[in-house]
Structures are given as structure tokens and as C-alpha cells.
């Protein structure tokens, strides 16, 4: 019970997710919109674990989502012949997604985390592009042809259950991943890991001098963020969209979106990715409805204005304004 106040800041995050779920369940036509918003929130939340807490910008982040997608796809396409496994194929898919994204993050982290600033960013872009070309060029996992596995899912789960998985349960799983990412973020914030990460984000050299093993903590945050991305890829891409083509799952655009969401909401904050994901997703959605074809023209300057006006993000601004009030402890 003593621990409870420590985790109170999760209340607004979970409340936001519950409200989104209730809206999706009860308002006609809202499910797919909420599914998109949840994806953006989860993406921002998972990305924030590393970028927000360390200040390192990983431009190759989408590669971890890609690995997660491949993990699930490989499990489904390779194990479909073992009928007795049934739904365990999906469970194995999640495990494989976690393992593959974690292994990639360890390999990347071992090299790239020795670099800083622009050098780190460039190195991670290289990893993303390089990995995609490796899959295509070496023709591993079906190479450039990719995999389409709706029929395999139908075989494993039956047509009705597979359809429900793609259009309903995959979205619920994204919600769970978003909540998990938020919990992990707060856990880190409230423990030694978070203090070390904050120290290295503010001044890495000073943190080193103080005796903090910065490499160790950076790797912890990097791997955590990557495994969450792997789970997200396995769910929001492989299960919701049962296909994988290399150019689509290694598309750098998703990393840019993750950066925008984190910056917009407030990098390094708990509530920031939720607010960023909602603002980003809702603006895009409604602009594409009311001004189809012109939304990006309007959206880009709006983002610029928000970032110029609130350099700490929307939640950063709220934190400053609510300082000393009762609301303060909820806005972290």
C-alpha cells in the first residue's frame, strides 16, 4: 500500500486508455479510430523509454518494430503446419518478437551506444536501412517478397476467430502494450534506473564522474524500448495486418512519427506520449477527413508552432503551470 502513491501518476494514463476503450466499444464508428490512436500512444510510450529518458534520438527505431513483425510472421508461417500448437503459435510469436528485437537492440546498442548526438543518430539510420537490405539482398525470411499470412491465421484459429483477432483482439493487445510501456516508464522513473538515466540525460560526462555506469543504464533503456517496439510490431502490424513486406516495416517515417509524438507531448514525461499520440492522431485523422490531400500542409506548421511555443511539450508546459497545486503529482 505504501507503494501506491508512487504509482499514482499512472492514473491519468490508464484513465485515458480506459476512456478510449469505452468510446471505441460504445460509439459506432470509433473502433478503428481508437485503434489508430492507441497505436500512436503505444509507439510514443515505447519510444519515450529510451529517447525521453536518455535524450538519445534513435532514428532506426522502426527496425525493432520490423523485427517484432517478422518474429510473429515467422512463427505463424513456419509453425502453421503443426496444428496441435493452435493458439500457442501466437504466444510463441510474441516470444520470438521479443527475442528478435532484443537481440537486434543488443547488437546495435553494443556499437551505436558508444556514440553520441548526431553520430548515434546516423549510425542507427544505417542499422535500419542496412537490416532491410540484408533481408532483401540475402533473401532471408522470403526476402523482398515478404510474407502474407491471413490464410495461415485462418488455418490456425479458424476464420471467425482470425477475423476477430485482426479487427478486435489485436487492438486490445496494443492497449495492453501501451499500458505496459507506461508502467515500465514509471517504474524506471521511480527507481535507480530512472535517476541514473536522468543524470546522464542532463550531463553524461558529469554522470560518469559521479560513478554512474552510463553504458549499462543506456543499454537497459535501449533494450526495454526495443522489446516494447517488438511487441508492438508483432501486434499492430503482424496480427492486425497479416502481411510483412520489408520496405513497409522498415519505413523510417514511423521513427519520425515516434519522435514527433514524444516531442509534442513532452519527451521524458509519463503522460507526454499519451497526449502527443492523441493530438497527433486526432489532428491527422480529422484533417484527412475535412481537408483530404491538404492535411500535411496544415499539420506541419501546427506542429512547428506547438513545439516553438511549448519546447518541453504539452505535458512539460502543464507541469510548469500546475506546480504547487494538487494536480502536480498526477502530471509526471
Amino acid at each position: 500500500m505504501k507503494q501506491l502513491p508512487k504509482y499514482l501518476p499512472l492514473a491519468p494514463v490508464f484513465a485515458a486508455y480506459v476512456v478510449m476503450f469505452l468510446i471505441a466499444e460504445n460509439m459506432e464508428g470509433m473502433w478503428q479510430l481508437m485503434s489508430m490512436l492507441l497505436f500512436y500512444c503505444a509507439l510514443g510510450q515505447a519510444f519515450n523509454v529510451f529517447m525521453g529518458m536518455t535524450g538519445y534520438v534513435d532514428f532506426g527505431y522502426v527496425a525493432f518494430l520490423g523485427m517484432g513483425t517478422y518474429g510473429m510472421a515467422l512463427s505463424i508461417t513456419r509453425l502453421v503446419q503443426y496444428e496441435f500448437l493452435g493458439v500457442w503459435i501466437i504466444v510463441i510469436g510474441f516470444a520470438l518478437a521479443m527475442v528478435m528485437s532484443t537481440l537486434l537492440s543488443m547488437a546495435v546498442g553494443a556499437v551505436a551506444l558508444r556514440l553520441r548526438g548526431a553520430y548515434f543518430a546516423i549510425a542507427t539510420i544505417g542499422v535500419n536501412e542496412g537490416f532491410r537490405f540484408l533481408i532483401e539482398g540475402a533473401r532471408i525470411w522470403n526476402g523482398s517478397e515478404g510474407m502474407i499470412f491471413t490464410a495461415d491465421l485462418n488455418t490456425i484459429l479458424g476464420r471467425e476467430a482470425a477475423a476477430a483477432l485482426c479487427t478486435y483482439w489485436a487492438d486490445i493487445m496494443v492497449l495492453v502494450i501501451a499500458a505496459l510501456a507506461a508502467s515500465v516508464t514509471l517504474f524506471y522513473m521511480r527507481t535507480k534506473v530512472g535517476y541514473a538515466l536522468t543524470a546522464l540525460r542532463e550531463d553524461e560526462d558529469a554522470a560518469k564522474v559521479m560513478g554512474i555506469n552510463v553504458t549499462k543504464f543506456k543499454i537497459i533503456a535501449f533494450i526495454t524500448s526495443a522489446s516494447l517496439a517488438g511487441l508492438l510490431g508483432a501486434t499492430a502490424w503482424a496480427l492486425k495486418t497479416p502481411y510483412v513486406f520489408p520496405p513497409e516495416v522498415f519505413e523510417i517515417h514511423y521513427t519520425i512519427e515516434a519522435i514527433i509524438i514524444a516531442m509534442l507531448g513532452g519527451a521524458g514525461t509519463l503522460l507526454g506520449p499519451v497526449v502527443g499520440g492523441l493530438v497527433y492522431g486526432l489532428s491527422k485523422y480529422y484533417l484527412s477527413i475535412f481537408l483530404p490531400g491538404f492535411q500535411l500542409l496544415i499539420f506541419a506548421p501546427v506542429i512547428l508552432v506547438i513545439i516553438v511555443l511549448f519546447p518541453e511539450g504539452i505535458v512539460g508546459m502543464l507541469k510548469a503551470r500546475t506546480k504547487g497545486t494538487g494536480v502536480e503529482r498526477f502530471i509526471v
Binding site: 485503434s35 489508430m36 539482398g137 517478397e145 502474407i148 491471413t150 502490424w237 495486418t241 497479416p242 477527413i289
Partner: protein
Amino acid sequence: MKRSFAILVLFMFVFAGVSFAGAAPDKIVIGHPACLSGKYAKAGEQAVGGIKACVDWVNNFNGGVKIGGKKVPLEYKYYDCESKKEAVTSLIGRLITVDKVDVVFAPYSSGLTLRGAPVAESHQMLYMDHGGANNKIFRQGFRSIVQTIGPATSYHMGTLDMIHQIDPDAKKVALAYEDSEFAKMVMEGAKDHAKALGFQVVFERTYPKGVTDLTPLLSALKASKPDFVLGGGHFEDGQLFNRQMADLNINVNALSLIAAATLPAFYKALTTMAEGVMGPSHWEYGVKYSGEEAQATGLPWIGPSQEEFLELFKKATGEDMLPDYHAAEAGAQVLAYVLGAQGADSVDSKKVRDVLGELQFMSFYGGWDVDDSGMQVGHTMVDVQWQDGTRVIVWPEEAQTGKVCYPMPTFQEKVKGAKAVPK
């Protein structure tokens, strides 16, 4: 008593109205998550123009869609999906549940088409594909999907049929293509069809995307001494392919390159070196499909003539540009839906899907027929050849605007300014 009578009359009117609306709706709405921005913006813009043009034709020239004994206007509701999969599902969800559309047209590309399919299926909504050519879409067991664009495996079938017919001595074919999902699927179909026609595949190799030097591959290809070559993937590698074949002086009777040779920029980049080079296309402005042609082949005809389509397309886009195949196939899809709904005398997705499964017709886009899985099997690709700087449709015969130049001039002849002239 008077009041009761009035209420009774009112009820009768209401129920009459309901039953009437059940038979024939006030309007029929096509929903479309269009790719107006993002990587498929160019194709998406053309598709929207093509759909608007054909909706205009249906409403203003055909008087609407004939359902329940009356003509019902067609409406087109579209949003911009930014060529992104997350937006595709959310917008399809909105189109079906909020806008209550009667049919959903898939976005451009195989990936985005696949993304939307489970959502459409879960609502038992008819889902029409005008931009996803991957054959595997139709091996996934979707029930509500119907394709208008031809499958990727059919791209080179016309080229092979043509060479088989005009040159019985040609036996050896070389396949060299980009290592991409699309090109591989195209060449899988080409290889199978070549073998079925008795051709011998003497060379087959892929090259990576973004390739900058094809000379090692082309040197190996030259050694295999093919009669003709099928290749390509995208514009950049297609023109590199042609240029380096010229550098290495690899002369073949025919060269057909996917996705590159049909573009005006291809000739602009290569000038006379492009003479005689061919490329398959779903449709090109200038094809000769017409009501008479349909009559001759025994198919019913629907829709605007090619010239009418051009005018309607220009009106819809507000620009003086030619429609390309993206516009034509999207427009033809509107016509297919109209025939499907009229045949079913309903907008019920399942009934329309059943009718579409049996439907055969011809429009300015060419033939239309789908197999049991919903895959397009009635549409024939056209083959375009550069002749004296002009794109000439040389195959199939019912669509051709000129004869084929075969064999094409050698590269030495082209250097001297030789033009591809049919014999």
C-alpha cells in the same frame, strides 16, 4: 375517428416509405480511403480523378444506377489515407460505420489493400481492389474482395503471346529483373506462361533495388544469347537496363521492361535508344476498346468512350492532363459496381458480390471478369512500343493502334538514328 384515420394514413405512408427505401435507396455511396498524399500520391490522384469521371458519367449520362425500378444517383465519399496503413483501417471503419457507404474501394498498392481487407470482411462489406496486383491477396480466403486491376502475374502474358504468334522461331527468353515483391510476382507469371508456350528460359537473375551498374548481369545475359528479354522493376533501373544493353551492344529481337518503358520520361532520357522498346501496361490512352469491339467479342458494353472519359477526367481533376492506367482501372471499377448493383437489384454487399462473380463486360478499360476468388482474369494488359518517339499500342489486336516493329532495330542502327518502323 378522423384522428385515428389520419394516424393510420400516416403509418401507411411511413411503412410505404420504409419498404420503398428498402427496395431502392435514395443514393448509393462509394467509400474510398484514397492515397492523396504520401508515397502513392500520384497514383491516388489519378484514381480519384478516374472514379469522379465515371461517377459523373453514371449520374449524368446513364441517369444513375437502376435499382428497384428507379434510377439512383451515385455518390463518392473519399478521405486521404496518406498512403499509410494505420489511416487505411481507421478511415475504412469510418466509411462503413459513420458514412454508411455501400461499397469500399481499396487504396492503392497491394500492402494497403491487404491492410483494409480484414476490416471490410468483418463488416461483410464489398471491397473492390483497383490498385493491389499481388496474386497472393486472392489466396487468403477473403470473401468480399473483387479485383479490377489485373494480377501481377499477367503483366507479360500479352508480350509472350504476341512474340509466340509473330515469331515462331523465337525460342529463348531471358528474364532479368529487380529484386522486389512486385517484379518477382510479374516474372513468376511470365516464366510460367513462357514455359506453357514452349519458350526456353535461358537466363534468369535478379538485381537489387537502387542498382547503379548492371553490366556484370547484362554480360552474363548476353552470353546466354536470348531471342528476347523481359526485365525491369522501376523507372530508374529500367532506363539503366536499356542504356547498358546499348553500351554492351546486346541486340535482341524484343526488349520489354515493366514500369519504365511506358513512361514518357523513358524516351526523354534515352531518345533513340528507346526506339522499339516495349512495356506492358494495364491501360494506355489510345486503346481501341469500344462498343463495336465489345459487340464483336460478345460482351456487353458500359460506360463512356475513351474520348468521353478523357473529357470527364479533365473536368474532374480540373487539369489538362491525360489519365493513366490508375485512373482507368479505378473508373472501370465504378462501372463494374454499377453493373453488379443493377444485376443484384440491390446494394446488399453479398448479393452484389455474387453478381460480380458472374459478371463479364467491356468498357473503355477493356474486358472484365473475375474468378471464384475475386481475382481479375478478364482484363488483358496492353503492350506499348516506342516508334519514332511515339507510344504505340501494339497488343492485343483488339486494342492496338499500330503494328509492332519486330525485330526492333539494333543498337548500332539506333545510334545512327534508326527509328522503329513496323514491317
